[in-house]
Symmetry: C3
Subunit: 470 residues, 3 copies
């Protein structure tokens, strides 16, 4: 029996119901915070703020827009490398992110900004919502081409929820730092996605599907995604750091780590190929691992050369992962990871968590100043007695919690998505836009009819040569 992949009622129902739920919940809970409210003028007077430029908008909006581009163009186009799944890559990423940011505003609001019965949102809320959705985009990379849009909407609903809980535990209970989200975004997102795709296991997809490859132009489209992720990653890692030196430091560290990562990626890509040729998949992905791996430590005093070392290592690890580990995971563990997120997000995310823990543990008042150390790690109130080495321990605990959330959450959600009525494609239709998209007419021709178009002018016996005795 063929699965029913017709989305006609399922997808609209999900979209409508959830958007109506958003409207109701926003109506009940969501308000502007003081920086976006006309009472800002009063607030300025009360707090002796003399200029509108002190509004958080001007500290963070440019970074927000860069992050926004990373989520929608960066992740969306990075995944267009598949020759026949460009619409799905960009389009479904657009859909899940647009839903995800709304739900993230609510979930993160309830956990982090819910004092007076209302969620108040400002520019940081928008950035955090984008961050949260980033982890869903990562998980999407693992299941790319193998699930229906309804499954993606359901995955987004659950993953955003779990993200908010995990983030709350890390930031508020373990009291750790994770400015660029090595743990909360990358480790959690990647292991969540990997577990989901492992449970959705398609044993007959083992042999490489013809459509699961790139073509020349699709690889170029994908490079648009790569470059925007690479260029704006300094904004990503610095977007919610403290005003002033912390934001700039996070940007510098990320810039350095990413630059270094490109060179070792190219080196390994060349050395593992018999003819020394570069593989596009490495350039598209492994060059970004340096950004992932300074996610936690970027705002800390990692120092420029420390950042270079992190990038150096991650370029190697990630490229080797694509070359040697992914095939093993696929054949031995039956773990089919379309975009190789294990190499780009999972391993570098873990490395990033460890780098963060070590950097935190090594912090000293000499380097940070006494006040700076307190501010950096929020050693205040009940946490006033923490020392850097204890903080390092908690940071390490944060990695484990994120990993656990990813694995357990992914298992649960994986089984939900395995239910038979979500309309996922047959194995032979995976990685093909034709299942969920009305394709342009010409496309049929691309798939083999071009010749026939001309053949119509040929004499009858040549049109159907197979009927012709040779």
């Amino acid at each position: 029996m063929l699965r029913n992949t017709n989305m006609r009622w399922r997808l609209p129902l999900v979209c409508f119901l959830w958007e109506i739920a958003m409207i109701v919940l926003f109506g009940v809970f969501v308000r502007y915070d003081i920086t976006a409210d006309p009472h800002w003028a009063d607030h300025m007077k009360k707090n002796n703020i003399t200029s509108n430029i002190e509004n958080d908008f001007y500290f963070r909006y440019p970074s927000f827009q860069d992050v926004h581009v990373m989520i929608f163009v960066g992740f969306g186009f990075l995944m267009t490398f598949l020759q026949r799944y460009g619409f799905g890559s960009v389009g479904f990423n657009f859909l899940l992110a647009a839903f995800g940011i709304q739900w993230a505003l609510l979930m993160q609001g309830w956990f982090h900004a819910f004092d007076t019965g209302k969620i108040t949102i400002g520019v940081q809320s928008l950035i955090n919502a984008d961050f949260c959705v980033g982890s869903v985009c990562i998980a999407f990379g693992a299941v790319l081409g193998k699930v229906s849009p309804v499954q993606l909407m359901i995955m987004t609903l659950f993953q955003v929820t779990l993200f908010a809980v995990n983030e709350w535990i890390l930031l508020n209970k373990l009291h750790v730092n994770d400015a660029g989200g090595s743990m909360t975004i990358h480790t959690f997102g990647a292991y969540f996605g990997l577990t989901v795709t492992w449970i959705l296991n398609r044993p007959n997809l083992k042999q490489r599907n013809d459509k699961e490859g790139s073509v020349y132009h699709s690889d170029l489209f994908s490079m648009i995604g790569t470059l925007y992720l690479w260029m704006y990653w300094p904004s990503f890692n610095s977007a919610i750091s403290d005003h002033g030196d912390a934001q700039l430091r996070a940007a510098i560290n990320t810039y350095c780590s990413l630059a270094s990562c490109v060179l070792t990626t190219v080196a390994i890509s060349s050395v593992v190929n018999k003819k020394g040729k570069l593989e596009m998949v490495h350039i598209q992905n492994a060059t970004l691992a340096g950004g992932v791996a300074v996610g936690t430590a970027a705002e800390m005093m990692l120092s420029p050369y420390g950042s270079l070392i992190v990038g150096f290592i991650c370029g190697i690890v990630s490229t080797l992962g694509f070359t040697y580990l992914s095939p093993i995971l696929s054949s031995k563990l039956k773990l089919h990871d379309t975009c190789g997120i294990h190499n780009l997000h999972a391993m570098p995310g873990l490395i990033g968590g460890i780098v963060g823990a070590v950097t935190a543990a090594c912090a000293t008042e000499g380097v940070y100043t006494a006040e700076g150390l307190k501010k950096m790690f929020r050693f205040e109130n009940e946490y006033a007695s923490r020392t850097p080495s204890i903080q390092g321990g908690y940071q390490a605990a944060g990695i484990c919690v994120s990993l656990a959330f990813g694995l357990v959450g992914g298992t649960v959600v994986g089984f939900i998505l395995k239910l038979p009525f979500w309309g996922d494609p047959e194995d032979e239709n995976c990685f093909d836009d034709v299942v969920y998209w009305e394709l342009p007419h010409e496309e049929d021709e691309d798939n083999g009819h071009t010749f026939n178009q001309y053949v119509t002018h040929l004499p009858e016996e040549l049109k159907h040569p197979e009927k012709n005795p040779a």
Copy 2:
């Protein structure tokens, strides 16, 4: 008789003459405003401004650059969906916008910043010029593929002029708010373009031209335009709002409306298709309607859930428009609208005007604070006695004025463009870059010669099978 589409003397003449005119007029009229003049240092001292960061540049330049990307990449690439009109879409959009911003600096300067016999320009002038050109890009969408570059230059000249007059009436005479331009940019621009294309009616283009469709890769190029418009729209709607909370509020409202709009667009796109498949044209266009429709009210206290509702409605209206209304307009009214701007700009623009009028009419001192209300609607000098409900009435009048300017202006300009010597293409050459662009050599092969290339190796009687008795 074939029309002469050779641009050799007409296009250079227009470009040279108009650019020389720009130079002369700029020489006579345009100067830097105080924020871009070395006297800024004196100005700071006189006004007790203690830091250069108070220069308007730092409040608005990031938003300006986002708007700039929307005009040139956003609109330019959005229109590349046509399979053989990518050069024209991006290239002519580039040309008309580059001319339009210069002419807009002058026109808007004469109307808005012309106190001492000079036009003084600063960062807001650049943004406003881009805004003005935005309305021309919209109108270009209606006539895309059916006009010559000379016609576009002439249309730009007139439309920018009319835009400035209409904007002056709305902002200075009716004294209405329209931060994101639902009325001045979208309603005016769209109805202007629709009227022009209606008057340039090509009765024999009725049956769908083969070239008036997309191919797989052209749809992906178009998504670059869509995503940049979508992502940067919060910057667009907040770019010229008051410093501080108003700018941030405009960004938040637009972000919310756009997110909501994506979900209802997907829902309707799926439900109107028999197999539940999504149409790229909907995802490319209708997802943006939410940004258009909060153009007027974005800076007001629309509230986040209000924004979600606006986006919710516009996704539905716009997608239904593409599905049901456009075919009717085309067959009954002979209104051929290449990009469907009626669905993306005209209807959402009207909705945006209405939302703005209602939101203004509902404004209270409790919500805005007494001072905030005055500041938001500029209730000062001769307008000091206005109340929100009266303001709502004027806002509604603004919609009508913009609509009238679009219809009447479009009629006049349409008849000018109908004159027979502007070099527009034959019906069968519409939507084809070959008319105005030197195409790369390989392109000939794409158009049917690929087969012949191989056929040259075939025996003679097979090369011209039509001569061969079957």
Copy 3:
């Protein structure tokens, strides 16, 4: 004997060695400057800085990100116009820029920020490193498709070094202004690249290589590069100008010059074509000449109409260069310049230097204010006695020095790159990604196998018609 283009050991070796060198040198020399250090808080107190917004990060980070996009997406995609060299264009540009920015941080640091035995880096350092790499990207345009990645890495090493020396002479010894780098970036970079390609002369490449052309989609990819360069050029020219009016003025002047340049480019492109058709190569390149040519004078009181005139002239010069001069250089001087950087960077760079010198020489206290004049041209300390006209002379000297550095440096580096063991491609493999990249499988089909795919269904005698008696 075929050259060995296998990069397997050479490229990894170069990447690893150089990245390790970077790590060691960064470890010894590079530290955060005060704006990125936790001691920033102390610095604020000492200097009565009341707000973090005064951190240079907030003045310059948005401009930095725009410049970053220009280097990686702008230059990278601009060069994808070649039909079979998209991977090399984007990928090698990515590689050389990622290495170059690290080496530039060191070189520029030693020359400009090396007071206490350490190089301290902040947001300006990142921008300057990107600027320096911009000159390498320009030179890459001249040799595009004809060199190996190892050669590019070596060229980058030397060119960045020479850039830093030249820049130091201009800024510190001649004490000239060059905010947007007409001299240091464009003149130096272009003549360096032209000399290198002239020395690497390939006499048998004279006749036009089939692959040295564009296809429809590659021209559209290239327009992504063009538009990002064009849109963000105002940020480029204003990125390191003084805070306040100078930054805004630089942005306005660049905006005006670029707008004007588009119109004359289109005019000339149409007039030089018999059928009046536009050439994509002109639109992709000559439209940018206006940005190059206001590089030096952008921050000065060039005035908006002055900027229009500069753009007007450069659009003409650059387009005429592509049409008439490039073929002559190629046939008479054996100068093969793949991207036409002579037209886009060399000539407009010289014009930019001259415009800068003239604008400086004409500066008066009336226009700049007495203080403003001193600040603009740093008439202080030993330079306190300089007058504008003397400054103009030094500016002119700066052009000559940059030109000399480009020519002499290019000669030396050209001969180094001519050594026979760097793995550059055979003439017939130039402009083809197949040499250094593992191409997607489908690509074979694109190169002529598509027909055979269908032909297998034809009777034997038609499969090999050439064997068939006609």
